[in-house]
């Protein structure tokens, strides 16, 4: 028998979840094998060359605050950055980056290679079994005969499990962008009792930049945003490339309509469930027949290549039809396709098998992260990756899992939604899902999470010290604003009126002034030049003071939620004992097996009547 290579952790898949997971376990001191089907494709972005946006950008900031990688790598690899929703209130402001995909991969690879405890390896798993008498261990066999073993395995296999690609009526087994699918491993997992569902996603064609006429399109340059995603590395804004906006037209739609019989989503070839928020152009044309045009964005894939991404024209029509309709779009008349768009169906782990910290309930030491759990997006994957990594480390240490709450982080919202809502499409985070949206701002992600990042060993001492110093400056600014006040007739008072247009009636503190609409921290800096400096810090304080009333309200709500979360439901609880539960609720509760009453309340189909029935029963018998 071949020699067994033993690790603390084996991460299966080196995409956006896998990289974060491996980095986290390595930082926590565990020898980690990061296994990939193809070494060339580490941290590959198979869809759009873009990171961030509302919700997603928040996730990136949070992963970064915890000490993860996606924020730093995006900052280093970005081609342009934009601030979104700048006019819409602080809670929903977000960064979005266009990323140089190739550079992203290079930088990520470099970081991972420098980690002494990470071992990178290419290989395909053909067998998986549970071994070990005391404490479970997992033994994996590669197609080349190599045997690996570890007490923790993190599955981060993206859309590779039983992947099937559809282009028109042609379909074939495949991972994303022509990569080899994973076929044996999902079968072995099924043999372990793991249940899968079939999801669907897709991407658009890639075009040759030189074949496009940019004069017919509207340029979208980047901006010099005041900060990037990462709290920890110096920000260097880059305006390396523009995106370009153009539109479809009736001719485009006509061609698509005429060819729907060749669209796998419409002719019945695809049974997997697709997304509402990222529809193929076929779906947009069918569902919104009145729209005369749809946006198309041309986005650079990399500074070093001629390949561009076409956002808005995701399609799985036959390649020839894709070419035909693409060429009806102004600027794309002579477009040459370098890769066709496609739809991909793949297996995802049915989420009710997962704990909120992403371990499979029935398989000790087996964690799942990323698209394999039914999410979509690099950011969602990265968030789960770091959570699976940290919790794998805590599992090995025998410590309590790390689970950010819904009022603490978008990551908490994501994890809770994932296991509580029964997904009927790939999950994408939205700010609308966050009931504590005003508290979960991008600018305070470090205040919310950096403590954890340091505690678990992902943030270095130097980073943590900088964080503490920043916190101190925030307090200082706040205190100064509260204690500094001016009379209407003073020079500062006149300056205030001049800058803000507000006529003062009586002595006013800077904090009170900041609460007024239209007054910014920057204005206060001009009024009172002795304010402690700090741009980021000022932004935090400004939001804290301006939205105090709402934040207090959210804090109260969070307190109530926490109480509900404290009412724990014992594992393996039998809902059949509880009389007066509706059949639907009984079934759902049994399936989801919520950990707390709070989680139970969020399950759709569990109504207030069910909840009171459950609470009454538990009060009477369980909690005594």
């Amino acid at each position: 028998m071949a020699q067994v290579k033993i690790y603390d952790v084996i991460v299966v898949g080196a995409g956006h979840a896998g990289c974060e997971a491996a980095y986290a376990t390595a930082k926590m001191g565990y020898r980690t094998l990061l296994l990939t089907l193809n070494f060339t494709n580490i941290a590959f972005m198979p869809c759009n060359p873009s990171v961030g946006g509302p919700g997603k950008g928040h996730l990136v900031r949070e992963v970064d605050a915890l000490g993860g990688l996606i924020g730093r790598v995006t900052d280093l690899a970005h081609l342009q950055m934009r601030s979104l929703n700048t006019q819409k209130g602080p809670a929903v402001q977000a960064l979005r980056a266009q990323v140089d995909k190739r550079r992203y991969q290079e930088i990520m690879l470099g970081i991972l290679e420098r980690e002494p405890l990470i071992h990178l390896r290419q290989g395909e798993i053909v067998d998986l079994e549970r071994v070990g008498s005391e404490g479970v261990s997992w033994r994996l066999e590669l197609s080349t005969g190599i045997i690996l073993e570890a007490p923790v395995v993190i599955l981060a296999a993206g859309t590779f499990f039983q992947g099937t690609v559809h282009i028109g009526l042609v379909s074939f087994p495949s991972g994303p962008q022509g990569q080899h699918p994973s076929v044996s491993l999902p079968q072995k997992l099924a043999a372990e009792g793991i249940r899968f569902r079939r999801f669907k996603t897709g991407t658009s064609a890639r075009l040759r930049r030189r074949s496009l006429n940019f004069e017919a399109m509207i340029e979208q340059p980047g901006e010099e945003t005041p900060h990037g995603f990462s709290f920890w590395i110096p920000w260097q804004p880059r305006l390396a490339a523009s995106c370009w906006l153009t539109y479809t037209n009736e001719r485009t739609h006509e061609i698509i309509r005429k060819n729907l019989h060749q669209a796998p989503m419409y002719c019945g070839a695809i049974t997997g469930v697709g997304t509402r928020y990222c529809p193929a152009i076929e779906g947009k044309v069918v569902n919104f027949p009145d729209r005369p045009r749809h946006q198309v964005f041309i986005e650079p894939e990399s500074a070093g290549t001629d390949e561009v991404y076409v956002a808005g024209l995701s399609s799985s029509l036959p390649e020839a039809i894709q070419e035909e309709f693409i060429r009806t779009v102004p600027g794309l008349e002579r477009a040459e396709i370098v890769r066709p768009g496609y739809a991909i169906e793949y297996d995802v782990v049915a989420a009710e098998q997962l704990t909120p910290f992403l371990q499979l309930k029935e398989c000790p030491g087996l964690f799942c992260a990323g698209q394999i759990n039914g999410t979509s997006g690099y950011e969602e994957a990265a968030a789960q990756g770091i959570i699976a990594g940290i919790n794998a480390g805590l599992y090995l240490k025998g410590e309590t899992p790390f689970l950010p709450r819904r009022d603490e982080a978008y990551i908490g919202v994501l994890l809770d939604d994932l296991i509580t809502k029964e997904l009927d499409e790939p999950y994408r985070v939205m700010t609308s899902f966050a009931e504590f949206r005003l508290s979960l701002r991008q600018e305070n992600a470090d205040l919310r999470l950096a403590e954890y990042g340091y505690k678990y060993g992902l943030l270095a001492d130097a980073e943590y010290e900088r964080f503490l110093a920043k916190k101190e400056r925030i307090e200082e600014i706040r205190a100064t604003l509260e204690k500094t006040a001016f009379d209407p007739e003073s020079e500062a008072g006149r300056k205030i009126t001049e800058l803000t247009g507000i006529t003062l009636k009586q002595r006013i503190s800077l904090a009170e002034l900041l609460q007024k609409p239209g007054v910014s921290f920057q204005m206060l800096q001009e009024v009172y030049t002795q304010l402690p400096p700090g741009k980021d810090e000022g932004r935090v304080v400004e939001n804290q003071i301006k939205y105090q009333g709402y934040l207090t309200r959210e804090a109260k709500m969070a307190e109530r939620l926490r109480k509900m979360e404290e009412k724990r439901i014992p594992p393996g609880f039998d809902y059949n004992q509880v009389p007066n539960l509706s059949t639907a609720a009984r079934e759902k509760l049994s399936r989801v097996a919520p950990l707390t009453i709070g989680q139970a309340a969020r399950i759709s189909g569990v109504g207030p009547a069910d909840l009171s029935a459950l609470l009454i029963w538990m009060e009477a018998r369980v909690n005594r």
Binding site: V92, A311, T431, S582, A609, D610
Partner: protein, 460 residues
């Protein structure tokens, strides 16, 4: 343990014509197989859904009880969301009881009051407001309450609120879509238009909430207390208003020693009439206790009828009583015994107590009683109530939710006016929808996501 199968007579007792028996639960079909036969006597083996079929009900000794028609509804497409067998037989108490006992012998247990509704609600077939209306219906005591319950049952309140919810959701979806998808072509929120929509909804909710106090009277019955000196005819008046000899009437003053409370149907309005011990200075401990209780009822009443004996004149105590009570409660002065030669006239009394309605009646001749009923009803719920058929809110819980929703909408309006950012507007708009959701059972978070994707073409 699975849900038990329940059975009950679905039509009101004592009515002739057709009687309906309903069986709901996992055993419904099995019970049908035991108690139903083809008219030919053959056993029934197929159970097509929602088809009218003829049959006979047999007892456990295989004796034919009744010729019936029956329907089978398969879960979840039934009223309760479970398998339901409905049997329509010949009405009449005896017959219904025989069919019931056949069903029970076959394994069904008698349903508790409202249990079908409870199951329908728990299985998501009807919403909370509808379920509560049914429960009201079951306990409703008079015609108008009955109609309010029925109206609610038909989902009038829910329907009505759904319209409000839809309007608010449209605004919220617009806000949220633009926040979450800033790079899609989501039109900007038209603040003026949004203010119009929200002001309109707020007004509707306020009108509904204002109705609720009256709705509560329908549900819980208003308390009307009859008070006065001994022997003025309080007990006689109670009996007349009730239409039955409930309280003892004698010519001896101090007859009524303890109160008598009884629900009466006052032109469709449920009213709790309370006859009390006559108020006077007394050393009899029993009577003293009666007087104490009278005061207790006065505290609880919505309306006090102070009864005077028109033939006896107005005493100083009575005058004192009227002045004292009218400070606390609505008061009618009722001049009784108008059949006797009067010492008091309505105008005379009205002159002493400006603003208090004075009504002249006689419990002997019946004069003025109908007018009294009319005036009581008007005082409690207003002239047109229940006649113009508004949506009536009968639950205080609903009223509270409506008021909370309304106050959040006022905040949204103020925010729209002051240029508040949209992430903040969303907070109050969501809170308003959540409050309405407490009535209709809809969850904002799910609804808004669905609304976003159905209204806007998202995804670049």
């Amino acid at each position: 343990m699975r849900e038990e199968t329940i059975v009950a007579v679905a039509t009101p007792p004592g009515e002739g014509g057709i009687g309906v028996i309903r069986i709901s639960g996992p055993q419904a079909q099995a019970i049908g197989e035991k108690i139903l036969r083809h008219p030919s006597g053959k056993t029934i083996t197929t159970w097509p859904e929602r088809k009218v079929r003829l049959g006979v009900v047999i007892s456990s000794e295989e004796k034919v009880i009744d010729e019936v028609i029956f329907f089978f509804f398969r879960a979840p497409r039934s009223y309760t969301g479970e398998d339901v067998l409905e049997i329509q037989g010949h009405g009449g108490q005896k017959n219904m009881e025989l069919i019931l006992s056949a069903a029970m012998a076959a394994g069904a247990r008698p349903a508790e009051p409202g249990e079908f509704t409870k199951r329908a609600f728990l299985n998501g077939r009807i919403d909370l407001a509808q379920a509560e209306a049914v429960i009201d219906l079951i306990t409703a005591q008079t015609d108008l309450a009955h109609r309010a319950a029925q109206e609610q049952l038909r989902g009038r309140l829910s329907d009505y609120l759904h319209q409000c919810e839809e309007k608010l959701l449209a605004v919220l979806a617009q806000i949220e879509a633009a926040l979450d998808f800033p790079e899609d072509e989501i039109p900007d929120l038209d603040r003026k238009e949004a203010m119009g929509t929200i002001a309109e909804v707020a007004k509707e909710l306020a009108a509904l909430a204002a109705q609720a106090e009256k709705g509560r009277i329908l549900r819980e019955a208003a308390t009307v207390v009859l008070a006065g000196k001994p022997n003025v005819g309080k007990s006689s008046l109670l009996n007349r208003l009730l239409g039955e000899e409930r309280a003892i009437v004698t010519p001896i003053p101090g007859t009524t020693r303890d109160f008598v409370a009884e629900i009466s149907n006052l032109q469709g309005l449920p009213v709790r009439l309370v006859d009390t011990a006559g108020l006077r200075e007394t050393s009899d401990p029993l009577e003293q206790e009666g007087v104490r209780r009278t005061w207790h009822w006065v505290e609880k009443a919505e309306l006090i009828l102070i009864v005077l004996d028109a033939a006896a004149g107005l005493s100083a105590e009575e005058e004192q009583l009227i002045r004292e009570v009218k400070e606390k409660k609505r008061v009618f002065i009722v001049l009784n015994k108008s059949d006797l030669p009067p010492r008091l006239t309505a105008d005379g009394v009205a002159g002493r107590f400006p603003g208090l309605p004075v009504l002249t009646v006689s419990t002997v001749s019946g004069e003025g009683l109908e007018d009294l009923e009319e005036k009581i009803r008007e005082a409690l719920v207003g002239k047109d109530f229940g006649r113009e058929h508004p949506v009536i809110v009968t639950s205080l819980r609903h009223k509270d939710a409506l008021e909370r929703a309304g106050s959040y909408l006022q905040d949204v309006l103020a925010g729209l006016r002051d240029g508040l950012s949209e992430d903040l507007l969303s907070v109050d708009l969501r809170a308003a929808l959540a409050a309405l959701g407490e009535i209709t059972g809809r969850a904002v978070s799910d609804e808004v996501i669905a609304a976003i994707f159905s209204r806007f073409c998202i995804g670049k």
